[in-house]
Symmetry: C2
Subunit: 198 residues, 2 copies
């Protein structure tokens, strides 16, 4: 390789991720619509125009964060063994969901709050991924009901109820607080198990 003269401030390998991190933090804190491209740029130490080397526009930045988050969620879930009783699978789901979400509260917040700021085509993509994830839980509930292990009158409604309950943890959980992650997982496992038990 010939020694190339470095142009003024050429850091492309790390600038992209830093922009995404800044956008993530600011979107989560203030909301997509309330954050300007100038604020994101300032957070990274850039001028606003430089952001457009990394994203075609602000909307694409939001969509990219949300899609990658949902992809990660589904990929990590599908990497887990799906065997066992419905009881075991349900407990696994609850622990996975809590663990995954508490590790990235900002992405969780954005993925829920900023749905309405997506363009219709972007929204459709995210909505589909969200539905795939919900179906994973509903399959478990159906298995439990069909094997007589669970008493669940409406698997769809119960799916949404459980996910709402679990995702809500991110609104109050704080690392270093009164309860640790594994304690929270234990307590929610108990509640969910009892709620669906036959």
């Amino acid at each position: 390789m010939s020694a190339m003269a470095r142009t003024q401030g050429s850091h492309s390998e790390i600038t992209g991720p830093r922009i995404r991190e800044a956008a993530l933090r600011l979107f989560a804190e203030r909301g997509y619509a309330a954050v300007s491209m100038r604020q994101i740029a300032a957070e990274v130490g850039l001028q606003a125009g430089a952001l457009y080397n990394y994203t075609p526009d602000k909307q694409a930045l939001l969509f990219s964060l949300m899609r990658d988050h949902m992809d990660d969620l589904l990929t990590e879930w599908r990497a887990r063994p799906a065997a066992g009783t419905a009881q075991n699978r349900l407990e696994d789901f609850v622990r996975f969901h809590i663990g995954f979400h508490l590790e990235r509260p900002e992405l969780v917040f954005i993925a829920y709050m900023e749905l309405r700021n997506l363009t219709p085509d972007h929204f459709a993509v995210i909505e589909r991924l969200r539905r795939d994830y919900e179906n994973a839980l509903e399959d478990i509930l159906r298995q439990g009901r069909d094997t007589g292990l669970f008493d669940v009158a409406d698997t769809k409604l119960t799916t949404l109820a459980v996910i709402a309950m679990l995702t809500g943890i991110t609104t109050w959980y704080r690392p270093g607080g009164r309860l640790g992650v594994s304690q929270v997982q234990d307590l929610y496992c108990d509640m969910v198990r009892k709620a669906v038990a036959a």
Copy 2:
């Protein structure tokens, strides 16, 4: 009373509420930060400047909607008789919460999503009201635990879990859908009862 000449477009008795309704609808649909005063005015058939006869600024409009909503919630809850077993009181809370929230999904949405768009002093007021409401449920859970009726390891965590589960209904419930309000109330009563049962 002397006959006063009506100035151009004087409709103050109804304009105030109409502005609030328009703001409510638009804030819920697009988010506080994404809605302009011009859009609110256009919805009511006014020019933007006229709004400032009814609110000192945009922030006060948001706060007013949220505070009135929380006041209504607490007032209606406190108007109900608080007697009976913890079991009865819990069932009453679940039915009340679902009924109240499904009657005003837009306000519920705003009260949750727009907290971060409140100034710190306004936020403190709303947060206090929210906490008062949560305490109403926690009192019931404590009563049930103390009388041996409930098996609740952590009343605070269970309070937040139940409220998150119930409030989540507003994200999917639609009037005229597969389930009616009273069916939803029945199903969630069952789940909550089982989840806290001894």
